[in-house]
Symmetry: C2
Subunit: 420 residues, 2 copies
């Protein structure tokens, strides 16, 4: 079973909006054991949308069209699908009523043009809208399927999970499932990972070639998220796929050791939070160049309130001195980093203090080049006050420097908590 | 002149990495007056990469292949392009030397497999690498062009701007340029914008149909960035395109008024920063549910240090009281929001205080439902202490609530600074 994704919208081609939808749909398809070999972006042009749908159905069993179901003039996915099917659009009374209710329930009168959303290709099955005003569509063309979902991410996700994936799985009839485990690493270059795991990967490739059930290993350079090592196995049952992956995972973990900070959805901040929680420690942060990035990432972790006290974003040097007790002199230095960490722990009444001070650019500071970052740590639980200097370099943007500084600081804290 | 983008990488199809590169390239193509009607993602499979390149060249004059130039086994874009061209791969001595120098300059020994990156299709022109180890490629197939650039965003951007766009423009020979202006709005629904601007858009469409030079207007629902109104004109010269857009922009601004917070790259935080700077005011922030998001967004604005003092991320209620002087009782309430704003301005020695407290979820707090946000303001310059309640609703994720809370708070401050 193969399914393509067609993201519709001129704004996607012009780069005004980044298409994150097809990546998310691709992930759901893979998890459901459905292959996706092509994903395409096309503009709000009916002839080209029609051509893309036909091309997709020539290569694959199904296509999910994402976007172009809105109320405005340039939303023409409904028309394009009707043309592919060779049927007219008809007003769906139930959908019309639901749209009107949606507006009245929010105490708003419905703009006339929203009624366009109630027009569906003749014979198409409607996926009732829950989150928004645009219904989804399920259409058959011989043994092929065309799905249409809104482009608004949370509306699309709800509809794909509720109706599209289940229908695709039912259509596929196949039993094979894909299971994969992603090991997240920080501190090793992709080529270094390749040399560590290369022999192992070659062995798996040979097994594959011999027709044996063997997982595959792939690297995903994820920038500020580090490099992910993805182990994927396809098997008749979930259990078989999982045990195939488990065996290889153990071998990879043995080879990479502490460079692995988490698995699957466990990112660096979640890994740090779990270590703090397991030891009953609380964390207070002081940030300068990252401007709140560390705090905002830590507070995304569910249950962060158990171990995260807060973060003092002291952008002005004066505030560093008055609030954190940083002494006079340059602030991008070891003593300042340590004083900030000690101050953060004290002011926020936390067991552990973490501080970042550095130069994000655009210009150098305190005679230090762009990309210089001092990370300070404080707390008896992690061996008392210390500081570490990172040279991130001026490659990449100011934002990249801030992002790399954030994960580097969290990784340093993680390794201290591990006693590494 | 038409150019497609082909993003190569199985990780893109599986949704493990979001393809932001083709959006960025699409933006550069549009700015250069080059149409891009299709952008495709394909996996690390040579036969499919070859088929996609051939399909792109059948529809368009050029294709930019992005990714698959790395040192590892699954990087096969070089091989695919060579197959399309019908030529062998040859080692490029200059590239090989440059790769070795790249490693030695960083005091590292080069992993053997990096030499694969020095192999280029016979007859291809090399785009020398600056940021990374992967060189780019410019290949001709009759009157068509195939470009290859790395998938690492900052390496790709540098190479596309330096070599690909200039070559495309030279190849196109055409004089027509596209100019567009994006007006950013917050507070109006897409259908409301459509009804305000609809008649105007219809008029422009008619002018277009009559063959007159007329700009087009498009809406871009950009989620937490609000809704963008993009005015685009194509004309023989930059000046003509700009004056066509300027006329329509004035009309749109008159129709939408203060809902427009910025244009083009001016986002909400930049708009707020410009207002503060123009009035010589400094800002201090206190954040609870947003955990540092407000501070991290404000500090992305160049020159933020002129007007941004800092942000006190007080996640623990105890810290709200000890640090900001918030009195006992529920913290998701008007008094707490005002006390936090006043406290932030006092502690950070700022003219204006902005505070956010609310419920991001997953569970309710202080008897308030998920999505309830109180924004507090303080400072004589903006009419003294005040607070405003937002009900963002529990639709969407915890992260969406935090993001919407952030821009809503900044928009409230913006309108206060405008005396709106």
């Amino acid at each position: 079973m193969r399914c393509e994704v067609l993201a519709v919208g001129t704004e996607l081609l012009l780069g005004q909006v980044v298409d994150t939808n097809s990546a998310w749909i691709g992930e759901q398809l893979a998890a459901a054991g459905i292959d996706s070999h092509h994903q395409t972006k096309v503009g709000d042009n009916q002839a080209r949308i029609v051509a893309c749908i036909r091309a997709a159905l020539a290569r694959s069993d199904a296509v999910v069209c994402c976007g172009g179901l809105g109320p405005t003039k340039d939303d023409i996915t409904r028309e394009a699908i009707a043309e592919v099917l060779g049927v007219p659009l008809e007003l769906d009374e139930e959908v019309a009523v639901r749209i009107e209710e949606m507006f009245s329930s929010r105490g708003r009168t419905m703009p006339v043009n929203n009624m366009r959303q109630a027009e569906v290709p003749k014979g198409a099955a409607v996926i009732p809208q829950v989150a928004g005003t645009a219904p989804g569509l399920i259409c058959r063309l011989g043994d092929r399927s065309i799905y249409a979902v809104p482009g608004v991410p949370h509306e699309m996700r709800e509809m794909v999970a509720r109706a599209v994936i289940p229908d695709l799985v039912a259509q596929s009839g196949q039993a094979a499932t894909i299971f994969s485990r992603t090991l997240r690493t920080w501190g090793l270059a992709e080529s270094a990972l390749d040399e560590l795991l290369g022999p192992h990967m070659a062995e798996l490739d040979r097994a594959h070639a011999d027709g044996q059930p063997a997982p595959t290993i792939a690297f995903l350079a994820s920038g500020i998220e580090g490099i992910k090592v993805r182990i994927t196995a396809k098997a008749p049952t979930q259990d078989e796929a999982e045990s195939l992956v488990a065996k290889v995972e153990a071998e990879v973990r043995a080879l990479l050791g502490p460079a692995i900070f988490g698995a699957d959805e466990v990112n660096m901040e979640a890994a740090v939070g779990a270590l703090l929680a397991s030891r009953g420690l609380s964390l207070g942060v002081a940030e300068s160049l990252t401007g709140g990035l560390v705090g905002s990432r830590l507070t995304v972790v569910p249950g962060a309130s158990e171990w995260f006290r807060g973060s003092l974003v002291v952008y002005a040097s004066a505030a560093k001195r008055s609030l954190l007790g940083v002494s006079e002199g340059p602030v991008v230095r070891e003593p300042a980093a340590i004083q900030m960490a000690v101050g953060a722990a004290r002011v926020l009444d936390a067991d552990v203090g973490l501080a970042l001070t550095g130069v994000a650019g655009p210009s150098e500071q305190d005679g230090e080049p762009i990309g210089t970052v001092w990370v300070g740590l404080a707390g008896d639980a992690i061996g008392g006050p210390s500081a570490h200097r990172f040279s991130i370099g001026s490659r990449g943007s100011r934002e990249q420097v801030r992002q790399i500084a954030t994960i580097s600081a969290l990784d340093l804290l993680r390794r201290r908590l591990l006693g590494d």
